[in-house]
């Protein structure tokens, strides 16, 4: 650990940062030394350290959960849920979010310098897994002196990390809230990720992953990857409601390949703004980690074995219009938890906003999280 950290210090894009004291063993073999972990905290730790809520971010998320983003200036990605008086009440809970291993906002990843070469790792960075991300988080919490967590919560890839936490460290967490997620990445989702990766690798500026040394960025490839992915986060209804077939700043089609339609213009904007805050190689690594995620496979093919004798209280949430992580994926987890008599709650929230619903204004979702978390806190005796 670098220093005892103080939330007021280090006003960089990464926020707070520590370095893991021990080498980090990786699922794919080998270890990584001097792993840096960037994180943010909100609220304050209580005397018996019983009020810690760990938030796990999704593929393109980061540690800036509830503060303005240092690069984009936009509000934190879960400010709807996290803050004073909100569902995850920072007046009551001490909230931590770490940038994942392989990320690009302060935690060690392909952008970091490989000490052996003095250059950026690029695609010589070892392939990491969701399990590696979670092990990193656990080691970082060890160094912060935090042994147990009141709850771990996350959506999408964040939900995968929550499941991994529950499977690997069942005695370190009281409650788990996996949102809009799955215990294994589906063939369809792997397929979409592959399209994104191929788009990045097809960009001449990708330079076999060594673009950082060449001083260029595969921005076109990365923005196409983002555009494709972004469509999978929405729903037909949401797209129709937002854009329909409306034209962008014109009354007639141009009979060319300009962004005639509003939806095209919107997607292009999503792509272009994304490249300012995200690294293309990180995108390759993190999508790969999601593809490899299969919790049942790590437990002799039986998901239930991952949760055997688990003391953790679970609350799963899915959204009706989410076709990327549809409700049956959550139900499969619920079934596995039921079969080992785990304490599990499950809510399917009615929403037409697709996978993105977990990031948007969904009052029923907020109430579920608040109710479940407060009940878990009460059961644990958190003041």
């Amino acid at each position: 650990m670098t220093q005892e950290t103080d939330p007021q210090e280090q006003p960089t894009t990464s926020g707070l940062q520590l370095t893991l004291e021990a080498p980090l063993p990786l699922d794919g073999g080998g270890t990584l030394d001097n792993v840096a972990v960037a994180y943010q905290t909100y609220g304050s730790l209580n005397a018996d350290k019983s009020n810690v809520v760990l938030i796990c971010h999704a593929l393109t998320g980061d540690q800036h959960v509830a503060n303005d983003h240092p690069i984009t200036g936009r509000p934190g990605w879960w400010e709807t849920l996290v803050g004073p008086g909100k569902s995850i009440d920072t007046d009551r809970y001490f909230v931590i979010c770490q940038n994942v291993l392989g990320g690009c906002l302060g935690t060690t990843g392909p952008l970091s310098i490989n000490p052996a070469t003095g250059k950026s790792w690029g695609i010589t960075f070892p392939v990491v897994t969701v399990g590696d991300m979670v092990r990193t988080q656990a080691l970082a919490l060890d160094q912060l002196g935090i042994e147990t967590l009141l709850a771990v919560i996350g959506g999408s890839m964040g939900g995968m990390q929550v499941l991994e936490w529950a499977a690997r460290y069942p005695t370190r967490i009281c409650a788990a809230i996996p949102v809009a997620t799955s215990a294994r990445h589906s063939a369809q989702n792997i397929a979409f990720h592959e399209i994104g990766r191929q788009a990045i690798m097809a960009d001449p500026d990708w330079r076999q992953g060594a673009y950082e040394d060449a001083g260029v960025k595969p921005t076109k490839g990365l923005s196409v990857a983002r555009m494709t992915a972004h469509v999978t986060y929405l729903s037909e209804q949401a797209l129709h409601r937002k854009f329909g077939r409306n034209l962008q700043d014109r009354t007639r089609p141009t009979f060319g390949f300009d962004a005639d339609f509003q939806v095209e213009s919107y997607l292009r904007h999503q792509g272009i703004t994304f490249v300012d805050r995200f690294d293309a190689n990180s995108y390759l690594y993190i999508t790969r980690a999601m593809d490899y995620f299969d919790l049942a496979a790590d437990h002799e093919g039986r998901l239930a074995r991952a949760f055997k004798n688990s003391p953790v209280r679970f609350c799963l949430v899915s959204f009706t219009s989410d076709w990327l992580f549809p409700t049956p994926e959550s139900r499969a987890i619920v079934r596995a938890l039921n079969s080992v008599a785990a304490k599990v709650s499950f809510v399917e929230i009615t929403s037409d906003k697709g996978h993105d619903a977990f990031l948007l204004d969904e009052p029923e979702f907020f109430q579920t999280v608040k109710g479940f978390l407060d009940a878990a806190a009460e059961a644990r005796g958190v003041n």
């Binding site: 209280r313 139900r331 079934r335 039921n338 079969s339 608040k370 109710g371 009940a375 878990a376």
Partner: protein, 220 residues
């Protein structure tokens, strides 16, 4: 069949008292057991049993508002449908499976009952009795589908698509090889009375009925 048990709702303290059928169901539950409440609503019964009898409870509820209310109480409740989701539970997972005032609204009551018998050592079912004299006379005299205090919606609006009488339910129990260990009828005022074997009297005077069932041993 057994004596009418003593019913207590007092332990809820300042909370709203339990519905009479739920209070009767609660009185049938042994402390420290595992229980699944199918159609648990806002979790009132589960919470009462957790607090007064240290029952390790789980719930299944169709409505989002019910699930949310239950989760807020710290209960483990899953959003789901008795007709389709009971198959997901392993056999003998619970000491009790409770289905209160819901069987008449299921699509496949027999299948639901069979699934419950598979999941729980004992099954408790409460249901409105369509054989109650008020309903019989209403249908006989007016010639219209009865609308009463406990069945208060018109035929075209009601979710109760599989109404039955107490004797119909006894016959269904027989069909699925369930032993009726105890049965009670409830009057509109919440007064419980043990149902005798033939159930003719209860079928006429009982507005609601509550059954405690167990599995017939194999080969019996």
């Amino acid at each position: 069949m057994t004596q009418t048990p003593a019913i207590s709702t007092a332990a809820t303290g300042t909370a709203t008292p339990l519905r009479p059928d739920l209070a009767l169901i609660a009185s049938l539950i042994e402390p420290g057991t595992r229980l699944l409440d199918v159609g648990c609503g806002d979790g009132q019964l589960l919470e009462f049993l957790a607090r007064t009898k240290s029952v390790d409870g789980r719930g299944l509820e169709l409505s989002q508002s019910g699930v949310n209310a239950s989760v807020k109480r710290g209960l483990a409740v899953i959003q789901g449908d008795a007709d389709t989701d009971l198959v997901d539970y392993p056999g003998n997972a619970f000491d009790y499976v409770v289905l209160s005032q819901t069987i008449q609204a299921t699509r496949h009551p027999k299948q639901v009952l069979e699934e419950m018998m598979r999941i729980g050592g004992r099954v408790i079912v409460s249901l409105p009795n369509f054989g109650h004299w008020r309903i019989r006379t209403s249908l006989a005299l007016k010639g219209r589908m009865p609308v009463t205090k406990s069945l208060d919606q018109a035929w075209s609006e009601t979710p109760n698509i599989h109404l039955c009488t107490i004797r119909d339910f006894v016959a269904l129990c027989d069909e699925v090889r369930a032993i009726v260990e105890a049965a009670y009828s409830l009057s509109p005022s919440g007064h419980a009375k043990a149902i005798r074997h033939t159930a003719y009297r209860a079928n006429f005077f009982g507005e609601q009925a509550i059954f405690l069932l167990s599995r017939k041993p194999l080969g019996d």
